[in-house]
């Protein structure tokens, strides 16, 4: 299974995301923001970082990168797409996911090993987890507060579209402690924490993040 990872100017975690894909048993393909070409991949990851310097709003300029037209079309066609941190912000700016990410309510950058509860284990990126399972992955962001209007939050909760939720602490002021969400179809997932930094015992808090990537490979295998 070929999983593409897009590199934007200012992406930081693209190499880690590609490494996570390989460790999960997939073939990682480097994609470039300036090329309107997905190189035949089966799924796409938008990695963390500070695309275009986070100028204007996080993800606001990346949304209009040539590659994003292809990503949006593929996502609409059902291709699994995962946005991590800055990638989540880009997915919201692209309207592939509802809501927006604003500056942390405590106004400081947060960097910690964060416990999450998996609330939806039926998406293309979380089918390798059990619903209710708690996992620990790194979280690092300055603008990770998930917000949306009350109707959208209620809809996300009612439809089971909250994918992961913060446990014990709300590290950035996200409404309802929402750490990640999915679209109606379950193929597009965005989250602020970084599962790609928790894929090897040597570094990071463990390997709890690996199943995000193996889940996509499972989902692609099932649909092939």
């Amino acid at each position: 299974m070929k999983i593409g990872v897009v590199t934007f100017p200012g992406s930081l975690d693209d190499v880690d995301a590609r490494r996570a894909v390989e460790l999960a048993g997939g073939e990682a393909v480097a994609l470039w923001h300036g090329d309107a070409d997905l190189k035949g991949v089966d799924a796409v990851i938008l990695p963390g970082g500070f695309s275009y310097g986070d100028y204007l709003r996080c993800g606001a300029i990346a949304r209009f990168a040539p590659v994003m037209g292809e990503v949006v079309a593929a996502a609409d066609g059902g291709m699994p797409v995962l946005g991590i941190c800055n990638g989540f912000q880009i997915l919201c700016e692209s309207h592939l996911l509802p809501g927006a990410l604003i500056r942390n309510d405590h106004r400081t950058f947060v960097c910690r090993d964060q416990v999450l509860q998996v609330e939806n284990s039926s998406t293309a990126w979380t089918n390798g987890y059990e619903t209710g399972q708690q996992i620990t992955v790194p979280l690092k962001n300055g603008e990770g507060g998930f917000v949306a209007d009350a109707a959208t939050i209620a809809m996300l909760e009612a439809e089971g579209r909250v994918v992961v939720r913060y446990v014990d602490v709300n590290p950035n002021g996200s409404l309802n402690g929402i750490a990640g969400i999915t679209n109606e179809r379950g193929n597009v997932v965005g989250l602020m924490p970084h599962p790609e930094h928790a894929v090897e015992d040597l570094c990071g808090p463990g390997t709890d993040g690996l199943a995000f990537f193996s889940s996509a490979i499972t989902a692609l295998g099932a649909s092939a």
Binding site: L56, E93, A100, I102, N104, D105, H106, R107, D149
Partner: protein
């Protein structure tokens, strides 16, 4: 040449941590009469030919790129 101003502000119901930080600094400087601060962005667009189409285009620019309608409101005005 005309200058068109687009002001972008966080929606009233959206938390504005930057405005809060500025507000929190005021009493430390001895300014005590300010009850709240909201921080937004101001864009100045230089337009060669200012007509109805140009203004409509600025609105499209404001709603697609300059602001995120989920969290922000914008206003468009021509600089006098």
């Amino acid at each position: 040449m005309a200058r068109v101003i687009v002001d972008v502000m966080p929606k009233p119901e959206i938390l504005d941590p930057q405005g809060k930080a500025v507000h929190g600094a005021l009493p430390r400087l001895g300014f005590t009469g300010v009850s709240d601060v909201r921080q937004g962005k101001r864009f100045e667009l230089e337009i060669a030919v200012l007509d109805g189409d140009a203004i409509a285009e600025v609105h499209r620019i404001a709603e697609t790129l300059l602001s995120n309608p989920v969290i922000e409101d914008y206003t468009v005005r021509v600089d006098a």
